[in-house]
Structure formats: structure tokens, C-alpha cells
């Protein structure tokens, strides 16, 4: 069977989670590889969450927040962006491909964009194959 990646994603409650809900209410089909965790703000995404996800066997991690300027808490998404930039460098040094971690802005009306994003990321991860961490951690 073809390799099926698992993506852990962190969606902010106000924009991105609502956008994902909209994809559902609009019955847009996308790859079933994503697992969504709801957080209040993308600014809540602690780098350890991402590392933990890779450690537990995720093949990719996706963080979604409100578009710049739209943050419900004014600037949480900017803070997230700053952390993401550092983290992105860091995971590459750990031997994780940069495409395994993504930060995207999804607004509450962008159900279609969310669905496309999931498909797109799944496809990329299929190309990349299983996460190298899984082997080290002896996960399937």
C-alpha cells in the first residue's frame, strides 16, 4: 500500500478552525491525512508542540492562523510567525525536511483554500516519504 502520511495541524479558533468547518459544511473533499487540534490563537503554538508531534510520529505539521492583521488577539499570528521562522531553521538542522512544517494563513471564509492546502501538503509529504524521526523513534 502506498505510504499515507499523518499531518498534525494546529488551527486557531477564530479564523482557521472556522475555515476548516466551512470546508466541511461546503462538503469539500480533501485528503484524510490531517488531524486537527484547536487552539485559541496561533500564538499559542509552542515550539515543543511541533517537536512533540514529530517525536510521536507525525510526518508533517501544519500551523494555521488568521491573516496578518486579522488576529482576534491583535498580534498573536505575528508572534507565531516569528517563532515559526526560527523553528523552521531548527528542524532542518535536526534532519527534518523544511516542507514538513508549514505555517499558512486561513481565514474563516477560506474553506476551499484549506482543503487545497491539505491536499497539497499531503501530496508533498507522500513524495518525501515517512518522517526520518519515526525510524529513530521506532514507530511504524
Amino acid at each position: 500500500m502506498e505510504f499515507q502520511p499523518t499531518i498534525i495541524s494546529f488551527l486557531c479558533n477564530w479564523c482557521s478552525y472556522t475555515g476548516a468547518d466551512l470546508a466541511g459544511t461546503s462538503r469539500m473533499k480533501y485528503a484524510p491525512n490531517i488531524r486537527i487540534i484547536r487552539i485559541m490563537c496561533s500564538g499559542r503554538v509552542d515550539p515543543t508542540f511541533v517537536l512533540k508531534s514529530f517525536r510521536e510520529g507525525a510526518d508533517g505539521v501544519l500551523i494555521c492562523g488568521c491573516h496578518p492583521g486579522d488576529c482576534h488577539y491583535h498580534e498573536g499570528n505575528y508572534k507565531c510567525l516569528r517563532r515559526f521562522k526560527l523553528l523552521h531553521k531548527y528542524i532542518q538542522q535536526m534532519g527534518i525536511h523544511k516542507d514538513r512544517l508549514r505555517l499558512e494563513w486561513i481565514s474563516a471564509s477560506e474553506g476551499r483554500q484549506f482543503a487545497d492546502l491539505v491536499d497539497n501538503m499531503t501530496e508533498r509529504l507522500m513524495e518525501l516519504g515517512p518522517s526520518p524521526i519515526k525510524e529513530i523513534m521506532e514507530i511504524a
Binding site: D21, A23, T25, P32, C41, R44, D46, E56, A140
Partner: protein, 583 residues
């Protein structure tokens, strides 16, 4: 804490979930997870029988954690929280897994969908293990209100609140009430007497038993939080103090000083005056030049200090309509005068204001359009042989000609800008200012009167330039908020807030710098950060920034999210290697 006893409920949502996800299998898989006491599936969890099922199970099986896997928590989380409350359980001991919007409606493959549903529910189960009881908290509201600023917005808000029988302290930094409106003769577009209106307001305020007016008083050293603010009044004695539950900031505006614009020569050309100076002329009935001559040519220049990068980039919103008002008034006072207007865009947008524009243009007024960014009209003294006082050179856009306008009197429609001391007010009430020194509202669209600080509201031109009706509407809107909070008597504050574990805090103050609500203070004595939970909105940015994990956000703790990640990935792991979950 007692051992978690978890009940899992998988909803069919009719066929919505059931058609794609094997709900029975999901429910069965959950039974194996630690601490799960029972796992059921049911057609409609949100229906009354569905909710009754949960209540019954909680009571019979002594459940203390509930997982409902159904639709989006945005739809039914509140419903099920209420169910838990009904059963005597703390509502925060619930976790929902969204297997409709995020699974059955977006996937076709039954197997994959069922697997995904399992991992989502499992994540919810592992997470709910770490849920804590959270208590709703409220604070009492002091029924008195402090209003800063005695202009039309402040007066309106004060009257609205006082008329409802509530105490108001009205602070005014000058020695008189009325603000800018007191210096205006008539209002647009109906030419009502602004004097009549403002004097009636002031009369009513002064007679009102519920209003205490404090003239020559500035807002300083306000402490406290929503419902319980305090402000010392040193001039009335050492212990004199005002206590109030809400604050309305209505500090108003200051007219722009046009002497900075070289082209207009304000200050050294005697007959170049500002709009407020002209209002005084209108009030006195003496529209004349400095030499006492009745002016024959009068030019009104729009956008003085507005819409120009060198002054203020914003539009001051009222000047166009005021200028049209001036032109109409001038035509009435001086039927034979030549009246000119130099404008950029005619922004007469208010109710019946486009009609005012039309009416003005029927009164033989010459409208000249200029570029307010590149080519400002240039005013110079007229040579002696000319009859007029000044000559103004305008690069006229509509004709493309450079024209010369004679003028005896030039009226500059000066912009509205924030007072210099607005920063002090902002600091003392804890509200931030935007780049133009106007107060920032909580939400530019849907919450134009509240601020990010609970209990502090803004009204009138201190938020942005606006005309009288808009200021009044905003003042009443602020009053509505205040009245409603006084009427309820209590205000509920966010439960899922952050809190610090002082033992872990290293005092680096990173959290203080990232908090958008200024909700974190620093305890100098213990060198630790302290969260003011009344101000905290629970975004969690501080938690993720904290290097030691000392600051935690309730209901979104690291532990809860970590376990959710584990749970989510446990289902895939299990297939090959039976590792125990580290719960």
C-alpha cells in the same frame, strides 16, 4: 484529584456521520483506552434524548469526564457543557471531537475516515484526562461612572447614564463645559443652532442630581479594573477619591494649527483665519476683515492639515460639510459677496448632506478643485492697486488651468487632531492609541465603542474625527454598555485565562512583552510575573513564550495539548508496536 472516569459518545448525526464513519467501530475502539468507563454511539447526541443519555450515564456510572464526538465544537460545545452542568459536573470536563465537519463531510473513503475519526476521538479522550474544573468568575460593578471630557459626547453619555438614575462623574480639564461644539454657531445640514443645543445640554447637566461635574480636573492615576476603578482627587484633600465601575473616554479633538503650512501664511496674513475663528464671526454677526471692511471675495480652503502626508494622512470627515455650511451661511449674511471654495474631493456624505452640497451650488458659489497632496493654493498679499486684500493662486484641476482668485478673507478648514495630553489619558486608563493618536477601539467594525480594556469605553472624536450626530450616537452606544453592565451588576470574566506558577518563574518578563492586553504585571518583590486574570483574554501567547513553562493557560495547558498530540498519533502507532500510552 480523583481517578478520571471517562464516558465517550459517538454521534451519528442521522446519516451525516454514520454514512462515512463506522461509528460503532469508533466507539468500540475507545473502550480499550485507559480510564474509559463506557463508550456509546447514538443517533443524535444533541437532541434531548441524546443529552438525557449523557446525564443518566454520568449519574449511574459516576462519570467525571465526557467526550462527545460529533459536529464542530463551535456549534454544540455550549450545548454539551450545559448538559454536564445539568448532571452536576463542571462544564469544562468536556472535550469534543469534530468528526462531522472535519471527517465525514470532507472524506469519502470509509476506512480512512473511520481511522481518522478514531484518532481524533482518542486524542479527545487522552486530552480530557487532564481537564480541570474551572469556575466561572464574576466581579461586581460599581454603579458610578467616570466620564472624561465635557464636550458633546461626554455630555450626551453623562445625561444618558444619569437619566437612568445612575451616578456620573464628569471630568473636564478646562473651566467650562461644551467642548468644541460650544464654539460653533450652527450645525449642518439643517442649520440648527448648535448654541441652543449645547446650552440646553449644559443646563440639564448642571441641574441633574446624578451628575457631579469636576471642572479643571484631569484624569490621572486611575487604578483598578473593570467594575472597581479608583481615582484620587488631591485638590479636594489627601483621601478624597472617586470610585467608579466604568470609564467613558470622550476627550474630543483639537483643531489643527495651520501656521505650519507655509503656503497659507496663517499667522502673518491677517485675513487668513481658521474655521473656528470664522464661527466666532458668524456668532457675532460681524463678518469683516481685520480693517473692519465687509469682505467682497471670500475663499474657503478645504483639507487644511488633512489628507496630506506632511500633516495628517487621514480625512477629518466633517470639514467638507462644514465648508458647505459656511458657504451657505455666507451667502445668507452677505448676499452680494463672491464666495469660492477650494476643495479636493467633496465629501458630503451624511444624511441630507449631498442635498446641502446641491443647495450650496445653487447659491452661486464657485467650487475650485485642487490637489491636496501636490499643489496647495498659495496665498499672497495683493499689490496696492488691487481692490482685494489677497490673491490666491490655485492649480485648478477641473479645468486644468492655473487660476488666480481674489480674496478679502480666507477661511481654512482645519483638520481635527488629538489633544497633546491624550497620551497621558491613554496611559492612565490603559487603552492604546493608533498612529494618529486616536484611541483604538476593540474592533474597528463591530465594537467601535469598547476598548481592549474591560470597563473602559471611548466616544466621540477621540476615537476618530466625526460629526455631531455620529459623536452622539457613539456616546449613547458607550452609555448603553455602561448601563447594561450596571444593570446586570456583575461582569463575567474569561475563565480560560493564564496564571503563573511562581516557583517556576525566572522573572525574565518575556510574557509581559508579548501580552497584547497588558494583563501581566511584574512583582518586583518576588521577581515574578503576575497575571491579572481580569484583564487576560486567554490567547495563550504568553504560555508558548515562557521559557520555563511557569505561565499556563487554563483549558489549553501544555499537558492537555501534548496529550492530545499523543492520543492523535497513538492509533497509528498501535498497529505495529503495542507501546503503552504514556498517559
Amino acid at each position: 484529584m480523583e481517578e478520571p472516569r471517562i464516558g465517550v459518545y459517538v454521534c451519528w448525526c442521522g446519516t451525516n456521520i454514520e454514512k462515512v464513519v463506522d461509528v460503532a467501530e469508533v466507539a468500540k475502539a475507545m473502550e480499550k483506552l485507559p480510564n474509559v468507563v463506557l463508550s456509546k454511539n447514538y443517533k443524535y447526541m444533541c437532541s434531548d434524548p441524546g443529552q438525557d443519555l449523557i446525564i443518566k450515564d454520568i449519574k449511574e456510572n459516576n462519570l467525571n469526564r465526557i467526550v462527545v464526538s460529533a459536529c464542530s465544537p463551535r456549534i454544540h460545545e455550549l450545548t454539551f457543557r450545559k448538559t454536564l452542568e445539568k448532571a452536576g459536573l463542571n462544564p469544562y470536563l468536556l472535550q469534543m471531537a469534530n468528526i462531522r465537519e472535519h471527517v465525514s463531510w470532507v472524506h469519502d473513503d470509509k476506512k480512512a475516515a473511520t481511522d481518522k475519526a478514531k484518532s481524533l476521538v482518542a486524542a479527545a479522550v487522552t486530552r480530557v484526562n487532564h481537564h480541570e474544573e474551572l469556575q466561572k468568575r464574576t466581579v461586581d460593578i460599581n454603579p458610578a461612572t467616570l466620564i472624561i471630557g465635557g464636550g458633546i459626547a461626554g455630555l450626551t453619555a453623562a445625561l444618558e447614564i444619569a437619566d437612568a438614575g445612575k451616578k456620573v462623574f464628569l471630568l473636564e480639564k478646562t473651566n467650562h463645559l461644551g467642548g468644541v461644539v460650544a464654539g460653533i454657531d450652527q450645525s449642518f445640514p439643517y442649520f440648527d443652532s448648535a448654541q441652543q443645543i449645547i446650552q440646553q445640554f449644559i443646563k440639564r447637566i448642571k441641574q441633574h442630581e446624578n451628575v457631579e461635574v469636576l471642572l479643571n480636573t484631569k484624569a490621572e492615576n486611575i487604578t483598578g479594573y473593570v467594575g472597581n476603578f479608583k481615582m484620587p482627587l488631591p485638590m479636594l484633600g489627601i483621601d478624597a477619591e472617586l470610585e467608579f465601575g466604568n470609564i467613558i473616554v470622550a476627550t474630543g479633538l483639537k483643531p489643527y494649527d495651520p501656521s505650519a503650512i507655509r503656503e497659507y501664511g496663517y499667522g502673518y496674513l491677517p485675513n487668513v483665519i481658521t474655521s473656528l475663528e470664522f464661527e466666532k464671526m458668524l456668532m457675532s454677526g460681524k463678518i469683516e476683515t481685520k480693517d473692519g471692511k465687509t469682505p467682497e471675495d471670500i475663499l474657503i480652503i478645504h483639507c487644511v492639515g488633512s489628507r496630506n502626508k506632511n500633516c495628517h494622512e487621514y480625512c477629518s470627515r466633517t470639514c467638507c460639510m462644514t465648508a458647505l455650511k459656511f458657504a451657505t451661511q455666507l451667502r445668507s449674511a452677505l448676499p452680494k459677496a463672491n464666495i469660492y471654495q477650494a476643495y479636493a474631493d467633496m465629501r458630503s456624505f451624511g444624511k441630507d448632506c449631498e442635498e446641502l452640497y446641491l443647495k450650496a451650488s445653487q447659491k452661486d458659489i464657485m467650487f475650485l478643485m485642487y490637489d491636496q497632496q501636490k499643489y496647495l493654493p498659495e496665498i499672497r498679499r495683493a499689490p496696492n492697486r488691487e481692490k482685494c486684500e489677497m490673491l490666491v493662486e490655485i492649480e485648478e484641476i477641473l479645468s486644468g488651468d492655473m487660476v488666480e482668485v481674489p480674496a478679502d478673507l480666507v477661511i481654512l478648514m482645519t483638520a481635527m487632531e488629538a489633544h497633546e495630553d491624550v497620551k497621558d489619558v491613554a496611559r492612565t486608563v490603559g487603552v492604546s492609541l493608533c498612529g494618529n493618536d486616536f484611541f483604538i477601539e476593540r474592533h474597528p467594525k463591530l465594537d467601535p465603542v469598547a476598548t481592549t480594556t474591560d470597563g473602559v469605553f471611548i466616544a466621540g472624536t477621540c476615537q476618530a474625527p466625526k460629526d455631531i450626530p455620529d459623536s452622539v450616537a457613539q456616546a449613547k452606544a458607550a452609555a448603553a454598555r455602561v448601563l447594561s453592565s450596571i444593570d446586570v451588576g456583575q461582569v463575567e470574566i474569561e475563565v480560560t485565562t493564564a496564571f503563573t506558577n511562581e516557583d517556576l518563574c525566572c522573572g525574565c518578563q518575556t510574557c509581559i512583552s508579548v501580552c497584547p492586553y497588558k494583563a501581566i504585571g511584574f512583582n518586583e518583590e518576588n521577581r515574578v510575573s503576575v497575571v491579572n486574570e481580569i484583564l487576560c483574554k486567554g490567547c495563550g501567547t504568553c504560555s508558548s513564550a515562557c521559557p520555563t513553562g511557569a505561565i499556563r493557560t487554563r483549558h489549553f495547558t501544555d499537558k492537555q495539548i501534548m496529550s492530545q498530540i499523543e492520543g492523535m498519533l497513538s492509533m497509528t502507532k498501535r498497529k505495529s508496536k503495542k507501546t503503552e500510552l504514556e498517559v
